[in-house]
Symmetry: C2
Subunit: 302 residues, 2 copies
């Protein structure tokens, strides 16, 4: 059985066809402009596949930039809600796709999608509680808790915890909402504003990554205190600076200060890890969202 | 059917008998000294009940001070682990009770117990994601996530997130592990150290509670960003200062700064609330732990 996958990002939409084992058979990238321009191209991709191939896709999974409405009881379930990308604000992306393709559509955040990919076919397999954190132009996190993706009231916003500016920091928090939050102090734009250059041009500047590792270490400590994950997966542009991993593990130890004392923390290089699916975790997670939605529909259909 | 309940605290042990509706039929308080002195009194209470009453208790639930080992696959499952109460350090409380009483014993943290009580018979009924926070001599939190109590790697330690000392704070963090954590800045001992008197003697000092509400508001904002609860329940000695509730809601609004925009946040007096079960939430939660353990045992027995 085949499934459609859409990884919906602010700059590009990745569409793909996958099988029940997460294998990607075909994929294409479409620029994200406006719903009027972008959505017909997405729909055409899946419609063409279903017209020309022996094996039609039976469901579609969408891992979407946010914030989005994930509450199935809400009138605006399946909408992109208060995004700064104004063309997509209050846009019913799930309704549109269901309408035009006539198949079940699974839906979750982009970061929950990536985590689901890792939990199904990657380094978080077999775990019940895990975090996928992306650190790039923004900071977002997906959370699995008690074996299921965490939504709760809305969905986690791991980038906006308060972490407190360090006295060694010559910069400032750039978040328009918060004075001391993780994203505002540690995402790409704050690095660029603080040091006057983009992160990729600062690779050899030790002080840049020392401070960055401190902030990430503080945040991970807070996530261990609140979400108690069995593993923390770090992805996103900033994490391409691979020298950060050992520094982050060291900062985590410093800020945990021996307080949480669990077996898994004895092996931090297996606890705080890079994504394991060659940057396919998001699109593979979207395949799993499609599989799960088909399963969900058949259960409520009983 | 009847159930035994034990709310195990650092100063007293509350034992009780309850029915399947959470009704408490009998209860007794026993001082917490050492396992050698305290445990026989607990066991005697339940043994006597079973010898003298028509309806024996079929299982026991224990809501216990921590840290504790909740991992059923661990060699030390059911132990109190690295507590500063040295007589109870590495003590196998579940093993002892099972051994002496010969009935199934459910086990969780004291704060998860209180949350379970509220989720079963109190103000969190019907919710899938909620937090119970106790603010007293320490700060601890129970978390329900996706309909189940959250354990993950260990269990949450909500009192030890970093919240960052405010510049208006004349005191300091008193946590021996952390320089800027919630418990170290906002639990009873930090209030006493900062202002030179216990909280109960400071009721009319506005500045005391303004600062306290700020810290609690910051912490709740972080919990909303990470755990996305549908409700936050506040208990513990400090929360007997009821004037704090409106101040905390206001501080939460200040620190969230409109970032998380969910329907439930429009009604903060229903979102950030006091415990609803007349301080019986812990012991009622222990009854539910007993009920759930009996259910669990009968399932794995299939």
């Amino acid at each position: 059985m085949l499934f459609g996958a859409l990884e919906a990002g602010g700059t590009k939409m990745v569409v793909a066809i996958g099988d029940g084992n997460g294998k990607i058979l075909d994929r294409k990238s479409i620029p994200t402009t406006t719903p009027e321009e972008t959505m017909p191209l997405i729909e055409e991709y899946f419609r063409e596949w279903n017209q020309n191939k022996d094996h039609e896709i039976k469901a579609l999974g969408v891992a979407c930039f946010g914030p989005i409405d994930l509450d199935r009881n809400s009138d605006t379930y399946g909408y992109i809600t208060s995004t700064p990308k104004t063309a997509w604000k209050n846009y019913n992306i799930v309704g549109e796709l269901k309408d035009k393709l006539g198949i079940p559509v699974g839906f979750d955040t982009d970061v929950n999608g990536s985590l689901l990919g890792e939990a199904t076919w990657g380094c978080a397999r077999g775990l019940t509680d895990a975090i996928y954190l992306t650190i790039g132009t923004g900071i977002g996190g997906g959370v699995m808790s008690n074996g299921k993706l965490l939504h709760g009231m809305l969905h986690p916003e791991l980038g906006h915890i308060r972490i407190g500016k360090l006295s060694s920091d010559p910069g400032e928090c750039v978040c328009p909402y918060h004075k001391d939050c993780f994203e505002g102090l540690a995402a790409g734009p704050s690095i660029e504003k603080r040091w006057g250059k983009k992160g990729v041009e600062l690779k050899d500047e030790a002080k840049v990554w020392e401070l960055e590792a401190e902030y990430i270490g503080i945040a991970l400590t807070d996530f261990v205190m609140t979400l108690s994950p069995q593993k923390i997966i770090l992805g996103g542009g900033v994490m391409h600076q691979e020298q950060l991993f050992p520094m982050i593990r060291q900062a985590f130890e410093k800020y945990n200060a021996g307080y949480i004392n669990a077996d898994r923390l004895k092996y931090l290089d297996e606890y705080i890890v890079p994504a394991s699916l060659n940057d396919d975790q998001g699109i593979m997670g979207a395949i799993k969202l499609a599989i799960d939605e088909l399963d969900y529909q058949s259960h409520i259909g009983l």
